[in-house]
Symmetry: C2
């Protein structure tokens, strides 16, 4: 996708200067390290020329100033669990890796908030909050390894968005460092603030292209007293999807509402032999959380509704930890199980209005038939956010060509149905060629102009979001 | 505050051209009309040179193109209910008034969303949604007359933010018109989208300075089955505030949590002779909403908690419409009742982290004593958002001078306590001199640069948010 000859390599003298600036031990340049930091969950590979591991804001400032003066691209990176290639060093330069800045600075019980460094792993924050009966709702599938900085950069979603919203809804303020080293802070410790423009939420979801996050404060909620899970099985996938939509239309407020299609279920069954999903052709996994009495009430009403009015074959309610885990295990089987269908997976996280879900699902299956492709679909039905998994073999050139033909068709269909090409993964490099399907030239011009305010030399995470012809290799590097 | 000689007056030929462009009946220029559109709830007066009432997006485009070419400032205005002067034509020019664009275009029950023109009155949307068992949570005190466009421009809050968040959390997409007439659309019909920068939420809360809204789509929620109200009375205001904080700390999730101080209660009692608040020195008004059984449970637990563990004198629960109205009437008395304390009111909507509420309240009372001023405080305790009402006589020069000395001291104190100078009213002209207390030069420079991307000639709502020395009267006007 990117041309190798655009790659910015640090010179020996630049590396020496960088080591002197922030300390020998924070700069890695071995070939092995370059491989480690060359890829993310998108599976694309672009090795950096050097890896820098800051330990403090001061380290970040020094690197951002040095790189600006030397015209070296900087690629911020948390745990590298992004699905869209947001952290990949596509033009070489410096990978700025936040894994050493992983302190939970404070959890404030009165204000129900947490102040953290960007490298904190999301699940660590979730557990620390949980120990104080608090709750950080954003919950992407990568929570066990994703850094919170990365989840802010991509405005991560997850299972609970249908009730709790996305990452952007939980950020109180951000301390950031611009290219050149300027430190800024946007947002407020107060939960409500309308002072000046909402730059905070512009930064969230900006995929590391505007500024680097050095300190983060997020809002927490009281931890729900309990959460129960329902597994509803269906004889066909359209009925399952329709049941999910009807549930929301009838004022149920689940904290998760996941759909799994027939093909995915077949794989999960073959993988696990879980009898619950034997011969089942559509599933909804539903969670209700809150006070116990209310959750019990919601679950029994939902079971009634799904069985009597929405065509469910069977509805199982899990109320203890072990049974709940067993039900969610079905969802977790999917990731390994789908590889029975092909060694390569492209997971496109499209989202549509709920009213378009059924038609979108049918169109995806039609797309698979037309291109003779295998597409397994599951996802966050409550948000209209489907994971469209193209399962294929990238070494099969013919098949790969058909996938690459089908993807733009998928996106075009989704846009026609008033949807979005990315519900939660971001644009990164993976969807960069398609952003113009969703936004016109005028809208993209505004975005590009905002990028150039923050980063006039286009050195921070260049080659992301916008078409890459934008990047000119700075003259002082080879 | 603004210099009269900066005022842009439309020439006779410009007025003729404008009338020809969009139609005679949509352009008003009588002195009476200019008075009508010269003020808002901030009570400051700046008459426009002409009033334009667009009926369609095309009308808006024509006016925005014309004004751009002719270097005429444009001041977008909904119902003029803003508290910070956001719609005031401080440099004359055109008041672009959206009251004729007041159609609810669609309420979509499946997707739980509403598409509206910007001039729709907020309570009309609330009622229309309610008839379909849907619910639009943002609820500023001005809901009966505020236009939805205005509430988006200021990112309005209200009583329910403590549970439901603010206006920004409910906007799906915006169609906007820039100075010059370019039409753009940001956001998505899908409830989750991370395609490109979050320009949508940059526009929300931008106080009409970046672009004019021509069409709006918002998210709705299922209407809660019921809502009950509690009135908790206290023997002193500090205990009342503390009880509110403790309630949240103990995982209660009220849909409103309002505090009223002793002085406000005294006024409300003198005005209404409501025996509930006789000799009461602090009050919490609390709402719980949701399913009936859960609400009953929450109310009885909250009463128990407030009485036994938080020092309430008495807790009354209202469960039928009439009793609920009677309790909220106490809150509504405040607006007229406070004028017993002085004919002029400056209402400052500061917000602080909850942990700072008690100290902030004490500091406000100390500020009142020190400057010999009368300050009544009430507000959204759950958000740390207090309405600090300076009650005085603006014709009393000495008193007015003391108010004007006390206000920056209030804001400085609030910032020291990690708060914000505006929780929900916006900066407009009223807080423009103080924004630099909250944001440093570097942060404000980013904001100004964003303003100039959208509006390089500084013709859209000039003189707002940022210090006014920024505005240069364009050369072709007098």
């Amino acid at each position: 996708m990117m041309k190798e000859n655009h790659k910015v390599l640090l010179t020996a003298s630049q590396l020496t200067a960088l080591r002197q600036l922030i300390g020998e031990e924070k700069v890695l340049t071995s070939e092995e390290e370059k491989v480690v930091y060359s890829y993310d969950a998108s599976k694309r590979k672009y090795p950096p020329s050097a890896i820098v591991l800051p330990r403090s804001r001061d380290d970040i400032v020094k690197v951002m100033r040095f790189a600006y003066e030397e015209n070296i691209p900087v690629y911020p990176r948390g745990s590298g669990s992004g699905m869209s290639g947001g952290s990949l060093p596509v033009y070489g330069g410096i990978a700025l890796v936040f894994t050493q800045m992983n302190k939970i600075i404070e959890i404030d019980e009165v204000n129900q908030s947490a102040t953290v460094e960007p490298g904190v792993v999301l699940s660590e924050l979730q557990h620390a909050a949980g120990r104080l009966n608090l709750f950080y709702p954003p919950d992407p599938a990568s929570a066990e390894f994703a850094s919170i900085g990365g989840t802010l950069a991509e405005c991560a979603g997850g299972l609970r968005c249908v009730k709790y919203g996305v990452t952007r809804d939980y950020v109180l303020w951000l301390e950031v460092v611009r290219m050149g080293g300027e430190v800024l802070q946007f947002g407020s410790d107060a939960v409500k603030s309308v002072s000046g423009y909402d730059i905070l939420r512009l930064l969230v979801g900006s995929e590391g292209t505007l500024a680097v996050f050095s300190k983060i404060k997020v809002r927490l909620l009281p931890r729900p007293e309990t959460a129960y899970t329902l597994l509803a099985t269906f004889s066909d996938e359209i009925t399952a999807l329709g049941a999910g939509i009807e549930l929301l239309k009838n004022a149920f407020v689940p904290s998760a509402l996941e759909f799994i299609d027939s093909l995915s279920l077949q794989c999960a069954y073959d993988y696990s032999h879980d009898q619950r999903i034997k011969d089942v052709r559509g599933v909804l996994l539903i969670e209700f959380d809150g006070k116990r009495a209310q959750v019990e009430h919601d679950c029994s009403e939902a079971r009634e509704f799904l069985s009597r009015r929405a065509g469910a074959l069977n509805v199982e309610i899990a109320t203890d930890r072990q049974s709940i885990e067993a039900l969610w295990q079905i969802r977790r089987y999917l990731s390994p199980a789908l590889f029975q269908l092909g060694p390569t997976k492209y997971n496109e996280d499209i989202a549509v209005p709920r009213s378009e879900l059924v038609a979108t699902f049918k169109a995806i299956k039609e797309l698979a038939d037309r291109h003779k492709l295998t597409i397994a679909v599951f996802g966050h039905c409550g948000d209209g956010n489907l994971h469209v998994n193209f399962m294929f073999d990238e070494n099969n050139k013919d098949e790969k060509a058909r996938v690459e033909q089908a993807i733009p068709e998928l996106f075009q269909m989704v846009i026609q149905r008033r949807g979005t090409i990315s519900g939660e993964h971001g644009i990164g490099i993976m969807k960069l060629p398609y952003l113009s399907l969703e936004y016109g030239e005028a809208e993209l011009r505004i975005m590009r102009e905002i990028k150039s305010i923050w980063d006039p030399k286009n050195l921070l995470n260049p080659g992301k979001i916008f078409p890459s012809d934008n990047f000119r290799t700075p003259p002082t590097t080879q």
